[in-house]
């Protein structure tokens, strides 16, 4: 039985070897001098055509070897041993037999060793591995000479009359420019068309494959290659796009952008004019044509932080979807880097103008202890804002451990606004209580200048750093305007009991200058623990002038003292803090606090009286992150901060801009203290494409700055800032996302809950407003690259609100939002996009108007020209012509709903042309 099995195995082996027709090589290895059998010598067999290893073996104790399974072709036998010189023999295997090489004698290396002189020539010619490098500028050529002329002067390189190049006796078959092929395979195109002075280096090497050129590592077949390395500043090019769009009813959206670069130098410009809501560059455009996205990498969080847009910070011209906008904007950006990117400069100029017109209506229910008021307001607005801004940034990497960054920004702006308002208030039995017709206009100018300098140094000890920051900020606003109002108050009988007329001129002027400096030092306590200490001083000096002048005989000259004031505010803040940070493999943890002492001096410049306050502010914080795996983490965050009242809140000044709702500041306000806790959990399964995330956050505020309202029998509201206790907010959110693999459909669900309590005082009585919000959302989407992208989402929300002063008045309603979208690539380079929003808001006894909106947009585009550089597109916005702006707020005893005019149906035919040379915009 055993024999039979053995026979079968043997038979199988024979059959196999015959079938594969593989051959073997055998022999034995000996040492020429000692005639010893050399064990463990490597016998490698390579294919002659490409040096691929096809088999190997080691010699046995007797120095014998056999290498099996060799293909039948030209092979190289290569025998190596650490102390012997390599032995190489070419063999040709014709049949499946075993080729016997007999005895191979190896020679020791010491016998072969010859003196090798390695001579490295610095300067004009360098040798890097098998690459010969010529420094172009070291070889003199006439001005405007071509690369070909330069090549003629290089040692070892010949150029024939017809442009054929040879190096070290071999013909150059490929010419690369910066490692890439330059317009096809003809080497003369590059050498005859590029100027010699554009070159930094000429490199000659044997190119084996594209991979080898990229890596600089040699791999097999040889093609003598010339690489022309361009000087940085000759890397020129540009890219850009122009879009022209127009439609009936005078709709337009035109823009043009260009970025031209020369090495690291970048100049870009853009211009946009649109009345379809485009007021500036979008994120992608900002990176390519603007000064970048103002992002900063935060080591502590391991992520990017994008800082707010400068435009929005300063109330610049930005459109928020309210009104009908017409906008014009333009910008110019310059940036450059030099000294191997160690010096970095960039600056830009921006111009924006936004005209915005629109009408809006607000309906408010005022809940009072003993009664309810209903207020209707209709308004017509026109706003025009214009701004020029200039900014510059300069960064120097002084050495490998320290850097300085200086940035400065300045702006000049003008604003104009004109609002007409009609307001009427009704009591619970729908009788008119008061009504008002107002016109408020204002004409203003503003200026700002801000400079920041930051010095950072890293010490040799890892984690030890010091930084120093200095910041200056100046802002000035002046405006003059008019308030015209006719207010009428009604008696129970329905007759006008009181009427007043306001015709006043308002002059406002404010100016703030701030200087802030801070030093931060980080010391590593161990490999995983760091201590951070910081200290800073800030001063802020501001003045504010508000003048109200009454009309008399067509002249506004009589100053109304109760509505005018002049104040100077000086604040000096000293603050310092400590924080401990622990970074471990699985978790990191930080704990610390800053403490600040602010001296606050308020001078009434007219009365020449002086108030002094001082605040001690505490800013504790704690952060804990536990990473179960790379994609699963739990984090807890606590932040406590003190917020001091704003200047407006502290000024005991009446603001009568709305005569039915008058605001008075409160000089006795204390600072509020806010505790915020947040717990977050994330778990993402990459392979399963499943995600689970949940977070809960709680904020409670002690001494919260709230309002105390007095509403009189005529429906007039006078409110003042006060401190209250008991305000809080809770937010909870949980989501689950999953890929339904069978359908290749992504499915996401989430639940959210929020609740809050807001305290205020109404006619001396404490009121607790409680609101709750429940929401559920589900969405699906499916994506097939270059074919279609479709999605559906649906959410339902339930909102309730009650006020303790009137527990019987409960506001509650459902609202729903649904969205469907699809982008489809059609034949003939055509694409179709559509999206539709369904907004349904339940009517309530208070909000009884129909606010349901279906907004449906669609567009059809066709790509044109070579490389699809052109796009012709027809788009329709709000096909059903139903769009309205809508907002509801139920978080206090003033429950209101606002509707406003916004963009409605328009058609737009647009054409976009992309152009470029040597570059293309990056996509994010």
């Amino acid at each position: 039985m055993k024999n039979l099995l053995f026979f079968f195995v043997l038979l199988l082996a024979v059959v196999n070897s015959a079938k594969s027709q593989h051959a073997s090589v055998k022999g034995s290895v000996k040492d020429t001098s000692n005639k010893k059998d050399l064990q463990y010598s490597v016998v490698a067999v390579l294919r002659k055509s490409d040096s691929v290893l096809v088999g190997y073996s080691r010699t046995n104790q007797g120095g014998n070897f056999i290498v099996k399974n060799l293909p039948r072709e030209k092979l190289i036998v290569w025998i190596t041993h650490p102390t012997f010189a390599d032995y190489v023999e070419e063999i040709l295997i014709k049949d499946t037999s075993v080729l016997d090489l007999g005895t191979v004698n190896l020679t020791t290396k010491s016998q072969l060793l010859q003196e090798v002189i390695v001579k490295q020539q610095l300067g004009a010619i360098r040798f890097k591995g098998d690459t010969t490098e010529f420094i172009a500028d070291s070889f003199k050529v006439r001005p405007n000479a071509s690369v070909e002329d330069l090549l003629r002067t290089l040692p070892g390189i010949q150029v024939t009359k017809d442009g054929k190049i040879s190096a070290q006796g071999q013909t150059i078959e490929k010419v690369l420019v910066d490692g890439e092929e330059f317009f096809g395979d003809d080497p003369t195109i590059a050498t005859q068309n590029l100027r010699a002075d554009a070159l930094e280096k000429v490199q000659v090497f044997d190119k084996k494959s594209d991979q080898a050129a990229f890596t600089g590592i040699d791999d097999g077949q040889s093609k003598k290659t010339l690489n022309l390395k361009l000087k940085e500043n000759k890397k020129n090019g540009y890219f850009g796009k122009v879009t022209l769009g127009a439609g009936p009813k005078n709709f337009w959206n035109n823009n043009g952008m260009i970025n031209s670069f020369k090495g690291k130098r970048k100049v870009s410009a853009f211009g946009i004019m649109s009345n379809t809501g485009k007021t500036g560059l979008d994120w992608n455009e900002q990176s390519n044509y603007g000064g970048g996205n103002n992002m900063e990498y935060m080591e502590e969080y391991g992520g990017f932080v994008s800082f707010g847009n400068y435009d929005q910070d300063f109330g610049g011209p930005t459109y928020y979807g309210e009104g009908l906008p017409s906008s014009w904007s333009g910008g110019l950006h310059f940036s450059n880097k030099w000294r191997a990117d160690k010096n970095n400069f960039n600056s830009s100029y921006l111009f924006n103008k936004l005209n915005n017109a629109g009408t809006s209506g607000t309906f408010t229910q005022t809940i009072l202890p003993d009664t309810l008021y209903f207020t209707n307001q209709r308004s017509t607005n026109f706003d025009s804002r214009l701004r020029h801004s200039l900014n510059a940034m300069f960064e120097i990497q002084i050495d490998s451990s320290s850097s300085v960054k200086i940035s400065t920004r300045g702006s000049l702006g003008k604003s104009l606004s004109d609002n007409s308002l009609y307001t009427e208030s009704l009591n619970s039995s729908s009788n008119m209580v008061n009504r008002s017709n107002r016109n408020v206009s204002s004409n203003g100018e503003n200026a700002s200048a801000n400079t920041t300098a930051l010095w950072r140094k890293k010490f040799k000890k890892k984690g030890r750093t010091i930084s120093w920051n200095l910041q200056q900020d100046f802002r000035k606003n002046t405006s003059s305007g008019f308030l015209n109002a006719v207010n009428e108050y009604f008696a129970k009988s329905g007759l006008i009991s009181l009427s007043d007329t306001v015709d006043q001129k308002k002059l406002n002027e404010s100016q703030t200058f701030t200087l802030d400096t801070r030093a931060t030092y980080t010391e590593p306590l161990s490999k995983t623990a760091y201590l951070e200490v910081n200290y800073g001083v800030a001063t802020s000096n501001s003045t504010s002038r508000r003048t109200t002048l009454d009309e008399a005989g067509g002249i506004y000259a009589k100053r109304i003292d109760s509505l005018s004031n002049e104040y100077a505010f000086n604040i000096l803040t000293n603050s310092g803090g400590l924080a401990l940070r622990i970074v471990k493999k699985k978790y990191n943890f930080s704990l610390g606090s800053n403490l600040s002492y602010s001296d606050f001096e308020q001078t009434d410049l007219r009365a020449d009286t002086n108030f002094n306050y001082s605040f001690i502010n505490l800013f504790p914080k704690a952060n804990f992150v536990y990473s179960f795996t790379q994609f699963k983490r739990l984090s807890f965050n606590y932040n406590g901060n003190t917020r001091q009242p704003s200047l407006t809140q502290l000024q005991p000044l009446r603001d009568n801009t709305d005569p039915l709702s008058i605001y008075i500041g409160n000089p006795d306000l204390k600072q509020e203290f806010r505790n915020s806790f947040r717990l977050t959990f994330n778990d993402y399964k990459v392979l399963n494409q499943r995600s689970v995330y949940a977070n809960i956050s709680l904020t409670n505020v002690s001494n919260a700055i709230s309002n105390s309202d007095r509403v009189d029998s005529l429906g007039r509201r006078v409110f003042q800032s006060i401190n209250v206790n008991g305000s809080y907010n809770i937010n909870a959110y949980a989501g689950y996302g999953y890929k339904i693999k069978v359908l290749d459909l992504s499915w996401n669900n989430n639940l959210s809950y929020s609740a809050g309590q807001m305290i205020n005082f109404i006619n001396g009585r404490k009121n607790e407003n409680k609101n709750e919000n429940y929401s559920i959302r589900t969405s699906f989407y499916k994506n097939k690259a270059k074919k279609y992208h479709v999605g559906l989402s649906s959410s339902i929300t339930y909102t309730t609100s009650t006020s303790s002063i009137r527990k019987d008045v409960v506001t509650k309603f459902w609202s729903q939002t649904h969205n469907v979208y699809g982008n489809v690539d059609l034949p003939l380079k055509t694409e179709f996009n559509t999206d539709c929003d369904f907004n349904f808001r339940q009517r309530t006894s208070v909000f009884d108007r129909n606010n349901n909106v279906i907004r449906w947009n669609a567009s059809l585009g066709k790509k044109l020209f070579k490389n699809d550089v052109g796009l012709l597109k027809l788009s329709v916005f709000d096909i059903l012509d139903q769009n309205i702006g809508f907002r509801r707020n139920v978080t206090s005893n003033y429950v209101y709903e606002k509707t406003y005019e916004t963009l409605r149906r328009y058609f737009l035919l647009s054409f976009t042309l992309n152009f470029s040379k040597n570059g293309k915009p990056s996509q994010f």
Binding site: D31, N34, K36, L38, Q39, Y40, S41, V42, V43, A44, L46, D50, S51, V52, L53, Y56, R58, W78, T80, H81, P82, T83, F84, Q211, A212, F214, T215, I217, D218, D219, G220, S287, G292, N293, M295, E296, Y297, E299, G302, G303, F304, K462, V583, K585, T629, Q630, F631, K632, Y684, K685, V686, L687, N688, Q689, K741, N783, S922, F924
Partner: protein
Amino acid sequence: MKPIFLSLLVCITVYSTKAQFLSKGKIEFERKVNVHKQFDAEGEWGQMLKKSTPQFKTDYFDLYFENDKSMYKPGREADAPVRNFFLSNPASANVVLNDYTSNQFISQKQVFEQNFLIQDTIRKINWKITPDTRKIAGFDCRKAVAIILDSIYVVAFFTDEILVPGGPESFSGLPGMILGLALPRLNTTWFATKVQLEGVKTTDFAPPVKGKKTTMSELKVSIQKSLKDWGKYAARNIWLIMI
């Protein structure tokens, strides 16, 4: 320069005309990833990341070898570990046990949330042998190059003084041990920092047991499916997992 030392111990060393061949020992590999190269593809973001991150991310791995087996697994922790979300790659702490007699391997890879236990035939690599040499950790090495996974260019330096035909990760099949390895496309290199002959125990070759059982081809299919929407990041991640 890392201290390079070779502890010579008359242990399993076989003498043959002044040269000694090793058939048992432990090699420490230093893996370096040039993360700045990786950031170059990220435009503005990458430039910012460069400023806050050291150029190289360094890890250590140990390779135990004995006769016809080699075991590759994570080694000591780097002196200054770089922890950055953008640098956390899948399958970056693999365990690979190769058996050159049966031509089989068992490897354990943490691929995102899933730990895989892969059992398959050792990858056949078509190595091209070049005449270039280089000394690594005291050993004379020869250079070989290859292309794997259709487009990953591999440069390896191997020494014939170690009898086990192994190397870091799944790289093997050369007539000797790979002591230096470079994958330019993945901006990654492995170089032996020391080779020691003592301290190798049988338990060092205990095969990994935990993880979802799979084969290379099954793993590739499932990863390709999951990373379908990753765009330009998909290829890089698949390569990282498959090497």
